[in-house]
């Protein structure tokens, strides 16, 4: 050792110093360090546990979220389906009502036309009868002078007899 330039005394002394320092540190500082490390470890483990729990909860929430989204999607589809069915029902009702109204209007129009035709025919017939009677009246007025008045009187008296007997 002397050949290496190291003093044996100093070397032993430093070893003793080191041991003393080690013992002092081991006695006073090491337990605190170990305790601190232990606490740190516990905190880390606790943190990891919390993180794991959070991860599980997150997964659970994600699952619930997925279920809710699926449920909401299903409900939306059902609502759309129901709305389409309702709209179709309303459409059919409107079409049926419109068809009924159109049929009623057409029927009424046909009846009106028939009534008008009937009235027109009635009026024409009535006018024809009136005109025929007027024509006959005019012809009779012209011709009656040439008819034997006594014959007319006799005929009237015969009619009177018949009517008076049944009276």
């Amino acid at each position: 050792m002397e050949n290496l330039g190291i003093s044996s005394f100093k070397f032993i002394w430093q070893i003793i110093n080191f041991l003393v320092l080690f013992l002092v540190l081991a006695k006073f500082l090491l337990p605190r360090v170990l305790k601190m490390l232990e606490e740190r470890k516990s905190k880390i483990e606790e943190g990891l546990a919390v993180a794991e729990q959070a991860k599980k909860e997150l997964a659970s929430i994600e699952e619930i979220k997925a279920q809710e989204i699926g449920k909401a999607r299903q409900e939306s589809l059902e609502l759309i389906k129901q709305a389409k069915a309702d709209a179709e029902t309303v459409r059919k009702q409107i079409v049926t009502k419109a068809e009924g109204e159109a049929h009623a209007i057409a029927t009424k129009a046909q009846e009106d036309i028939k009534n008008k035709e009937k009235n027109a025919l009635r009026n024409i017939t009535k006018d024809a009868i009136d005109l025929s009677i007027i024509a006959a009246e005019n012809i009779l007025k012209e011709k009656v002078g040439s008819v034997d008045q006594n014959a007319l009187i006799q005929r009237s008296l015969q009619e009177f007899d018949k009517a008076y007997e049944t009276h």
Binding site: K126, I129, L140, K141, V147, N150, L157, F160
Partner: protein
């Protein structure tokens, strides 16, 4: 039988005395009422023939009456 007071004869043209007498005789015989009061009236609308009214009973044997009956018959038959 109810007594007859007035008999009114309506014609289109004025009747001669002979024609009036013929009518009067016929009706008196038929009605058995020699004392009834006979009146002769002229209404051109009658056209021909006679309308005979005995108190409130009317017998229309005129051509105008026939035309009215014909008109009524047509309208009734054709439901006018």
């Amino acid at each position: 039988m109810k007594p007859i007071n007035t008999v009114t004869i309506t014609s289109a043209t004025a009747l001669s005395a002979d024609q009036q007498q013929t009518i009067k005789t016929h009706l008196q015989t038929k009605l058995q009422t020699p004392n009834a009061n006979f009146t002769f009236e002229v209404t051109p609308d009658v056209i021909g023939g006679l309308i005979i009214q005995i108190d409130d009973t009317l017998v229309d044997a005129s051509l105008a009456g026939k035309l009215d009956q014909l008109k009524s018959h047509f309208k009734r038959t054709l439901s006018l």
